[in-house]
Amino acid sequence: MRDVFIAGIGQVPVGEHWETSLRHLGAKAILGAMEDAGVDRLDGLYVGNMLSGPLNQQEHLGALLADFVGQRGIEALKVEAACGSGAAALRVGYAMIVSGLAEIVGVVGLEKMTESRGPETTAALAMAADGDYEADHGVTFVALNALLMNRYMVEHEVSHADFAGFAVVAHANGVNNPNAMFRRPITAEQFVRSGVVASPIGMLDASPIGDGAAAVILASRDVARALKTSRPPVRIAASAFATDALAIHDRSDLLFLDAAARSSHKAYEQAGIRPNDLDLFELHDAFSIMAALSLEACGFAPRGGGVRLAQDGTIALDGRLPISTMGGLKARGHPVGATGVYQVVEIVQQLRGDAGRNQLPNPLWGMAQNIGGSGASIITHILQAPE
């Protein structure tokens, strides 16, 4: 297998981009990444997106974006795995380079969510669930996470307030990220008092949706080394994808993210590292319960112990395993199909030493984990710092 490197990154701030269309949002991120990498020609373009059909009345994003970034003629396609679409697109781009089918490709995660009415966006997001047996019963995406959280709280005898640390840390880290949607700190008290969306999940458990686009340029070792850029290439040391039952009622164990365990363990093996070797973990904190379950499945805590890491300082920037270092889904924002690429872009910033005031001291290994639906598609990537 050939090594794959990230040669360039680009992103737009997550927020409400009323003045910018879907295609231009994506183009900004891609052109930013191409400039960062010092390239003007790609072999292929892979677009991670979930909802451009129902929310933007636009599909066929591969050809559209290739054309609008000056690459008409190249191979280009959209990749969809619900909220995991961004990392799924990265995996496809990775496969193209690893296999030798391409030398340099672009990957963009893109979503534009703020143009629709709230209930329509909520209904569109529910398409990630089982249509006949979950969504038709009025179950929202938030409600699915609420069903997990309620069971977790009862089974492990923890309170809603015990989860506050996830949101508090994410918001503290978002303050210094110019691309974050929320740049204000919150307190544990605000977390507890925030209005209920679907019991027990409150406003401050849930990540905000928004418009966003993030992109990376992937290249083989030889091509990455020859690029006209001062940016050191970052190696993708592992890429792994696993699935679980789509409907949460079909899971063999409701409170264990089997696909997170499978994909993270495959990734540790590929990278040749152990969980404790990681210097940061950009996890999928779409809801605080997801952060807890992800930490448990990836080997950082026993069952029921994930929530403890939110209380003992482990996950803060100066802790043993910093998470959501640029705000995570909770504060940077969660433009669903774009999120997986934002996570990877932020790890590249950390590994290059470009993370500004949130810079970790000389991190060597960073892991990104992007979750589609409530855990049915889970994609894990591990990145290694430049030599």
């Binding site: 009415r117 209930p119 006949d132 019963h137 009025g138 069903l147 069971r151 009862v154 019991s199 079909d250």
Partner: protein, 134 residues
């Protein structure tokens, strides 16, 4: 709109018809023709009793399009006595506060309507189990 999709689901929505695996014996809902436990073909129909208990629940305040008029409503994971878990709304709660472990039974209720001229979709919901009428 989606008439045939809802029509196809009538045996599940109104009668909880699933399957039983004749290799390993596991009861399956919804039907999928392949056993999720042993991956062998499983096509023998099995009608569930409709009795179970609440495995988890959540009250939804921000409803999706098509369900806004019903909010707030309570959704639940219901573990059927035969084994499988399904997702459904709780209904007829009255003053009863739902809790995990609460015995429930299936009833047929309106799931949603599609406007004044649209179809009305019916299906299963679960209510607190009534005392057995002997």
């Amino acid at each position: 709109m989606e008439l045939s999709r809802h029509w196809r689901l009538q045996n599940q929505r109104y009668r909880l018809v699933g399957e039983v695996c004749d290799t390993c014996g596991v009861k399956i809902f919804p039907p999928r023709d392949i056993c999720p436990e042993c991956s062998k073909p499983a096509q023998e129909l099995y009608t569930f009793s409709g009795r179970g208990e609440v495995y988890s629940f959540s009250t939804v305040y921000n409803a999706p399009a098509g369900y806004e008029e019903y909010a707030p409503y309570t959704v639940a994971l219901v573990k059927l006595v035969e084994g499988p878990v399904l997702t459904a709304q709780l209904t007829d709660l009255g003053e009863t506060e739902p809790e995990i472990g609460m015995p429930v039974e299936m009833v047929t209720r309106q799931l949603r309507t599609e406007g004044d001229q649209g179809m009305i979709v019916y299906g299963y919901k679960f209510r607190p189990a009534l005392a057995a009428a002997v």
